[in-house]
Structures are given as C-alpha cells and as structure tokens.
C-alpha cells in the first residue's frame, strides 16, 4: 500500500484506535523523509547510532544522579535538533505522551516515604518520581531520534551486525511488516463497512461489527502469512536467513564513536 494519511475521522473507538496505531507505525517505520534529511545523525553509520544511543540509555539507567539523566535528555534533545527533527514533534510525540503515562506510575512515588506512604509529598519521593520521568523521557527521546534518522531497515541490519540472532531480527522485521499490513487491512475493512452503512451505529452495533471484523481479519492474516511462507520457500528459503551487510565506517563515524564513548564514560564517572 502506498502511504496513507488518515484523518482523525469520526469512527468508533476501535476504528479510531486502529487509525491512530496505523499512523504511528507508519511514521515510525517509514519516516523516509526525516531519514533522508541532511542532519547530523543522518550522516552516520546506523551501527554507530544504535550503539551510541544504546550507550546513553544505559548511562541513564545505571546512574543514581538526577543531573546525569537530565544531561542525557539534553544530549538527546540536542541530537534531535542537530538532526533537523522539529522540537514540536519531539514534544508532542514523545515528551507529552511519556509524561502522561510515566506520570501515572510516578505519582505514588511522590508520597512515598521510607516508612511507607504518607499524606504529603517528600523530597525523596519527588526525587524518585523525577528520576522515573526523566529516565523515561530520555530513553523515549533517544529512541525517537534513532527511528527518525535511520530507515527502519538499517536499524534491523545494525542489530544483526551486533550479533543479535538472525531469527530475532527477521522475526522483528516481519512482525513490524505484518502489524502494518494487519492495520492497513483493518482500516480498509472499516472503510468498506462505512461505505455500506447509512447513519451512525449504536455502541452495541459497533461492538458487534468490531468482533466480526476481528474474525475476518484473523482469517485473512492467516491466509496471507501462509502465502508469505510459500513465497519464501519458492525463493529458496530453507529455514536459515542470510542478509547482506553493506555498511562502511567513515571518519565522521569514528569521530562519533569517540565522542559518544567519551561522553558516556564522563557522565558515568561524574555521576559515580
């Protein structure tokens, strides 16, 4: 399917959720425009990006200092800006959703005291909640920076080159591919249903349609996955997958490796 752009629509909960999921997956997996922009990270080898961003996530996970995590978030935000990713996008697609979901988890921590739950916020509780939120924000921003500056295919290849088992990488790739296909099929089914429906459906009718659609969708998916397996067999697949590794390290890549390693070590050392 060629790139769909779905509006918010006026469908039911299931339909809107599918549209939202589809749009999010589409943005994440096929952010070709961002990945081909002339920014800092777009110039680097995907392996360097995967390793460096994983390194920064690790630093924020192992440190016990709030300022170190804040520094990692600052690095992530700077990388986003230097890679021509709009901060508005970072704010609306990462910071806001992350603070909403992590905030729910962090609220109890605010009133947590060494002796248990109290009625007022404690300094320790606020620190724990802040740490949780900042870590989540830093990791999510780094993930967005990676996905927005690297074609998804290159991320998968880079994982393979870090000796992540072939089966895992292939399954990850195909899973994403088929989640997209599943969402596209579901979206088409809803559109087709809408074109044959006059007037809004009641909640009960919407639920019934959703259940019937889920059954039809499952059947189609199974049929398609069987076809894919046959197509793989027809092209010589015998249970083992081979891939081409065609990345080349250049001077900017080595410089980026040196900079990332130095920064990670400095942050860990300073926060120790």
């Amino acid at each position: 399917m060629t790139g769909h752009h779905h509006g918010s629509g006026r469908g039911g909960f299931v339909e809107n959720s599918i549209q939202g999921l589809h749009a999010a997956m589409d943005r994440a997996l096929y952010a070709e425009q961002n990945a081909s922009a002339k920014g800092l990270l777009q110039l680097l080898d995907p392996r360097v990006k995967v390793a460096a961003l994983a390194g920064f996530i690790l630093v924020s996970a192992v440190t016990s200092k709030l300022w170190v995590v804040a520094a990692v978030l600052l690095v992530a935000t700077s990388l986003a800006a230097l890679s021509r990713i709009s901060l508005w996008i970072v704010a609306t697609r990462v910071w806001l959703p992350t603070i909403t979901f992590s905030g729910v988890l962090a609220i109890p921590a605010i009133v947590l005291t060494p002796a248990g739950f109290g009625l007022t916020a404690t300094a320790q509780g606020l620190r724990t909640a802040g740490m949780l939120l900042l870590r989540a924000e830093a990791a999510a921003t780094l993930a967005l920076v990676l996905v927005f500056t690297t074609p998804w295919t290159h991320v998968l290849k880079a994982l393979r080159m870090f000796r992540v088992p072939v089966v895992f990488v292939v399954i990850l790739g195909m899973t994403c591919r088929y989640i997209m296909l599943l969402l596209e099929t579901a979206h088409e089914m809803f559109e087709s249903r809408k074109s044959r429906t006059v007037g809004p459906l009641t909640r009960g009718e919407q639920r019934r349609v959703a259940i019937l659609s889920a059954g039809a969708l499952l059947s189609r998916t199974l049929q398609l996955s069987n076809e894919v397996y046959l197509a793989m067999q027809a092209r010589g697949f015998r249970g083992e997958v081979f891939i081409l590794d065609d990345f080349r390290m250049t001077n900017p890549d080595w410089m980026a490796v040196a900079a990332s390693v130095s920064l990670c070590v400095t942050l860990v050392w300073a926060g120790h």
Binding site: T2, Y30, E32, V228, A234, G236, L244
Partner: protein, 263 residues
C-alpha cells in the same frame, strides 16, 4: 519434456481443486493456463513449483518426480529453486524484505552466491526492469505496478530456466500491463520456458505458444492460442468470455459474447 503431469488430483480443505489432470509442457515453450477464477490454475502453478503435492497422480520435472521427499533433500531443493521461479498473484505475499534491494537479493543469498556477485546481479536486474531508482525504498510503499516489477525482479535475478507467473497483469493499469508483457516477451531472448496462469485473453497470440484451458479443476481443452481463441463455445463454457448486454443508442438491448482484452 519440462513437465509431465499424470492423472493428478489435489484436494484442498475437502474441495477437489484439481481432478485427474494430465498434461505435458515441452521445454522452451511458453504456455498459458487459462480458466476462470477457481478453475485450479493457481493451485496447478503451486504444484508445478513444488509448494503443494498431489493426493494422487504425479508431476515430473525433466523426468524427476516432484515429491515431498525429494524437496527434503537440500541438493535437489536448491537445484530446483534455482531453475524454477514463481511470481505470485498478490505481490504483498511475495514482498517481505525491508528494501527493494534486499527483496531482490533474498533468493541469491539463500543460494549462497558470493556477495559481490549478488550486488552486481541485483542491480542488473533492477536496471533491466527499470526500477533501479527504487532500490532503497520499502517494497510495501510502492504502487501496484512497481510492486509487480519488484516481485518479478526478485525471481528473475536468479535467471531461472522456467518462469511460473500467476495472473501477472492482474490489477495493473493498461500501460503497466503492456510494459510487463513486453518485458516477458524479451526475457531470456524468448528461449526460456514460461507458464502463465491467467483469465486475460489479450496478447495471448503474442506471448504464448500453447494454451491449456482448465474448468473446475479438469483439463477442458488444449491447443494453439489461435485455435483456443476461435472456439467461442469453449470460451463461454469455461467462463472466459461472457455475454455482454448493451444498446446502440436505441432503447433496445442485445447481447453477444464478449472478450476482455487490453486493446
């Protein structure tokens, strides 16, 4: 003989998809399997590609029986897959790799070709099909015509001796259909074996040497494209043509057999 199908019967989920089918396909010929939807063409292609195996009867490829046991042997399976390529009707089932380049490189990689040769052959094939500029794109993001070309490239990259095509022009606009047919006519300098499953009767005379008409899983007729296309009764009986009702400006309607071609 390239293929010899002998009294083949194949059942799928309780339905008899092919019944007591016998036919022979000589090496180096271009053959069309004609039939309406559900006539068993796609099933026969999959049997010819060793993806399905018959319940009774047999299929021999260059004198060797195609059985599950033979395909469990790596040597035979690789040699057969190297020789025979199948292009599926729905390109979405055939395109599962991250980029067009990876998609086309999939088969040579499975055949363990040297990587430098793979890169060269992939680019040659993409350029030949005029889709070299798409090499870094995700196959799933392409148009229908582009997807078909990528699916074709993913099979032609091995330069197989036999090409099995399931409804190659289905869902394409007339221009893409014409371009695809031209490419198939040029492929291998016209010396390769091609089996096309289709219900599209346009261009048959230019593209194939022989036709087999399938009806409800059985062989209804075989002959040259000219003989088959001239047999209106056979075409109507096999649902390859239909009676077309229309008027010529007046209020009176009349009907006559109607063939769908691309012209």
């Amino acid at each position: 003989m390239l293929y010899e199908v002998d009294h083949l019967t194949y059942r799928y989920e309780g339905t008899c998809a092919l019944h007591d089918l016998s036919l022979s396909i000589p090496d180096g010929t271009r053959v069309a399997l004609l039939g309406a939807n559900g006539s068993g063409k796609s099933t026969l292609l999959r049997l010819l590609d060793g993806l399905y195996f018959g319940d009774t009867g047999s299929i021999a490829f260059r004198g060797q029986q195609l059985t599950e046991k033979r395909f469990s042997e790596d040597e035979f399976a690789f040699a057969f897959r190297r020789e025979v390529g199948l292009v599926f009707q729905n390109p979405d089932s055939q395109l599962f790799n991250p980029t067009v380049f990876d998609e086309v490189a999939f088969s040579p990689l499975q055949m363990r070709w040297p990587k430098a040769e793979i890169r060269e052959r992939v680019m040659e094939t993409l350029d030949w099909l005029r889709i070299g500029h798409l090499k870094d794109r995700a196959p799933q993001r392409l148009s229908g015509g582009e997807k078909k070309r990528v699916a074709l490239a993913s099979v032609l990259v091995l330069d197989p001796a036999v090409l099995l095509l399931d409804e190659p022009t289905a869902g394409l606009d007339p221009r893409s259909q014409g371009q695809l047919i031209d490419l198939l006519i040029q492929w291998g300098g016209g010396a390769k074996s091609v089996v096309i499953a289709t219900h599209d009767l346009g261009d048959l005379k230019d593209t194939v040497d022989r036709c087999y008409v399938l009806d409800s899983g059985a062989l209804a007729a075989e002959g040259s494209p000219g003989d088959i296309l001239d047999d209106r009764e056979l075409l109507e009986r096999s649902n390859l043509v239909h009676r077309h009702r229309h008027s010529h400006g007046s209020e009176e309607f009349h009907s006559h057999p109607h063939v769908h071609t691309r012209e």
